[in-house]
Amino acid sequence: MITNMHFPLLKLKPFFGGQFGVPGSEAPQGLRWSPDAVVLYVDSGHADASDNADGTNREQPLATVQAAVSSSLLTDYSIIVVNGTVEESVVTPDYVTGPSYVSIIGAGPTGYSPSWQSDAADEPALDMRAVGWMVQGFRFLGQTAAACIELRHTDSGADDIAIRTVIQNCLFDGLTTGQYGIWSHGCYDVWIIDCVFQLWNNVANDACGLFAGTTPLAIPYRNHIIGCVFWDNDNHAIFPCNGCEFVGNRFQQVGYAYTAVQSLNTTVGGNPGDDNLVTQNVMTGDYSVAGGYSGGAADIWIGNMCDDVAEAEVGDNGFSILAPT
C-alpha cells in the first residue's frame, strides 16, 4: 500500500502539457519543446495539500505559498495559482537568487479571493524582493504593525529590489486596525492597477492605504497608480514620488465611516517628490493642502473631478486646473 502520495518530481520539463500563460508550453511540435516555466498550485484547503509535493499537479497542491515561492522548480515567468485561505508571511527571494516575472494569481471563487493575511502582526503578508513579480486577485487583510505587501528597494538588503512589480485587482482591507495596505521603499516602474483600499484605520490615525516609507536608494519613480479606489481610511495615499502618474483613481475624503486626513500626498517634507502627473481622478472634499491633497512644485494636477469649486485651483465646471495650495 502506498502511504506517501507526494512523490518527488520524476517527470521532465519537456513532458509538461500546454499551460495557458506559460511561454513555450504550447509545444507546437509535440512534446519535443520544453516550456520556459512551470505552473505551481497552492491550495491550503485541499485534502491532499502538502509542501512535500512538487506542486505541479493541482490535485496534489502545495499547502503554503512560501513553499511555491521557494520552490527549486520556479523559473522566470512561472505562475503560482493559489486557492484556499492564506495565513502566512511570505518572503520572495532577492533579485539575484530568485526568478523574475513570476505571477501569483488568486484563483478563488469570488472577485477577491482567496484572502491572505500575515500570521504575524509585525510582518507583511507578502514581502517582495525580486524583479517584475505580479500579484492579482487577492483579498489582503491588514495587520496592526505591518503592511499587506511590502516592496523592497535595498532597505532590507542590497539585492532586495522589487522594481517592475505589478499589483492588480486586489482588495486591501485594513479591518479598522491595520497599518498599511502597500508599503513601498522606493521601487520604480511599479504598476498598481484597479485595487481597492479600505478601512485603514487605527487608534493613532496614522494608518494608510498606499504608503512610501524608508527609501535608502530612491523614492518611487515612474510608478503608475491607476483606477484604484480609496475610501474609509485614516490616510489614503502618502506617497512621495518623482515622475509618477495617478490616473483614474477615486479618493473619497469623507467616507461612510472614516474621514481621511491625507487623501493624496505626492511630496513629504524630507522626502520631497516632484514632476508627477495627477489627472482624471475623482477627488472629493476640500481640494487644498489643509484638506489633504498635496503635490510637488512641478506636479501637474489637471483635469481631476473635484466638488470643491470654491477653490481657485478648481474651475466652475469642477475640473482642477492646478495643484492644490
Partner: protein
C-alpha cells in the same frame, strides 16, 4: 570637471547595487541645484536599471 560631474561618472561606472548605495549619498550631497538634484535621481534610476538588467 566639477565634483558633481565626478560623482555622476562614478554612478555610471558602478557595477553592483552595493557600490551604488555607497555613492548615492555623495551624489545627492554634490547636487546643489534643483536641476542637478533631478539629474542625480534620474542617473540613480539609470544605474539601477543597468545593474539589475532586463
Amino acid at each position: 570637471m566639477s565634483k558633481f560631474d565626478d560623482k555622476i561618472n562614478a554612478l555610471e561606472q558602478a557595477s553592483s547595487i552595493s557600490d551604488l548605495l555607497a555613492l548615492v549619498p555623495e551624489v545627492r550631497k554634490a547636487a546643489t541645484s534643483k536641476a542637478k538634484k533631478k539629474l542625480a535621481e534620474h542617473k540613480i534610476y539609470e544605474a539601477t536599471e543597468r545593474i539589475v538588467g532586463p
